[in-house]
């Protein structure tokens, strides 16, 4: 196939049985090229979270194909799929999903150890990532001792620990107040600038606005697909002036 990091063809997921069968994702085609940040928005129940789960191999499609980093994943065995997920995909969830008994640093080290690297390598990566997100002073703290914004930054650091080709984020600011949301916006802007391929599902316009591309979903289908990049419009500069 192409050099897209994530790709879907005719991707369909139907929930329920018999009469109550509802397509959550309805025959969508998608290509996410290397280095692109894509935001997917839509009302709750439009299928955006299911789409993310299908792309990351957390759910299997009813129909259609999913390709990750050039490999078809919907036909893989559970074991092979788990291995691919661990190495190639980083997940960021609304509820953080940190291990409460482990420190911030240990949470970031864990996936590195699970991928078969040495303790030393795990510590090295955790140190670099926590430093990158301004969390060095919090490395030994338990998640319960951190603010919401700090927890989500630890979760992003963990998602990056195995240098994944693709990061998937599901409502990353859903549980955060506006100051913490700004923290997370800064992190996503940092990932975008670093060329990380990223798909964010969100209802928060401000999170979506950090992306290069925006897809709007309704009833399991894409109703709009637009690029947000382009030359500055100069619009801001005209907002305040002496004549105004």
């Amino acid at each position: 196939m192409t050099s897209a990091v994530a790709e879907a063809r005719g991707l369909t997921k139907v929930h329920g049985r018999g009469e109550s069968r509802v397509p959550a994702v309805d025959a969508v085609d998608l290509e996410v090229p290397e280095g692109q940040t894509l935001a997917v928005m839509g009302p709750s129940g439009c299928g955006k979270s299911t789409l993310l789960h299908l792309l990351g191999g957390l759910e299997r499609p009813t129909k259609g194909e999913v390709w990750l980093a050039g490999r078809r994943v919907d036909t893989l065995s559970e074991r092979a799929l788990a291995r691919l997920r661990r190495r190639s995909v980083g997940f960021v969830f609304q509820a953080f999903h940190l291990v409460e008994e482990l420190s911030a640093a240990e949470n970031v080290e864990l996936p590195v150890l699970l991928a078969g690297h040495s303790r030393r390598e795990a510590r090295r990566r955790a140190r670099l990532l926590l430093d990158r997100f301004g969390l060095t002073a919090r490395a030994r703290h338990l998640p319960s001792e951190l603010s919401g914004g700090q927890r989500q930054r630890v979760a992003v650091a963990r998602a990056l620990a195995n240098e994944p080709r693709l990061v998937l984020a599901d409502e990353p600011t859903g549980n955060l107040d506006s100051a913490a949301t700004l923290d997370v916006l800064r992190v996503f802007e940092d990932l975008r600038a670093a060329g990380q391929t990223l798909v964010i599902v969100t209802h928060d316009e401000r999170v979506a606005a950090t992306a290069d591309r925006l897809i709007s979903m309704r009833d399991g289908m894409f109703v709009d697909d637009t690029r947000l990049t382009g030359a500055a419009t100069g619009w801001l500069g005209g907002l305040a002036g002496l004549e105004g």
């Binding site: 916006l185 925006l214 419009t233 619009w235 500069g237 002036g241």
Partner: protein, 177 residues
Amino acid sequence: MQDAVLAMLAKEPSHGYDLRARLRRSLGPLGESMNHGQIYVTLARLEKAGLVVCERADGLPERPERKVYALTPAGQQRVAAWLTEVGWPKPDLAEFHLKLVAAAAARLADPVELVAAQRRELMRRLRETQRAALAEPTESAAVVLLEGVALRLQADLRWLAACERAWSTGDDENEGA
């Protein structure tokens, strides 16, 4: 903006270029299109209205950038009145609303498509605003101003989502709205 220039003179008498620099610092990227001569035009108008006086001129008196301006008592009163005034810019949503109503009534265009086009534009503006905010030094006074611009855009985008819901179910029901 005349009021803002007057209020800046309340701190101390200043040169036009000092005032301009302070405005630029406070506005950040929002002050970018302010051209060099505007501050002198504004000061000349304020002087004519008796709200400021040229206190002295350093060096050549004929050059406007050498003049030091100060508030007159009338200028001070105007600043005090401006500070306590509770004015606020009007949200201008009626025109876009009427565009949707008219487009649907005459079957000229699909209101949902008009909303989508508007959303694309506002999302690009939001992106630009946020990137400008992140690029400002953290101590910059313009950060909180850019935050305000971003929050207003977010509010407008949420209103567009409400418009989309209304027009995708309503068909002709909205005609009288």
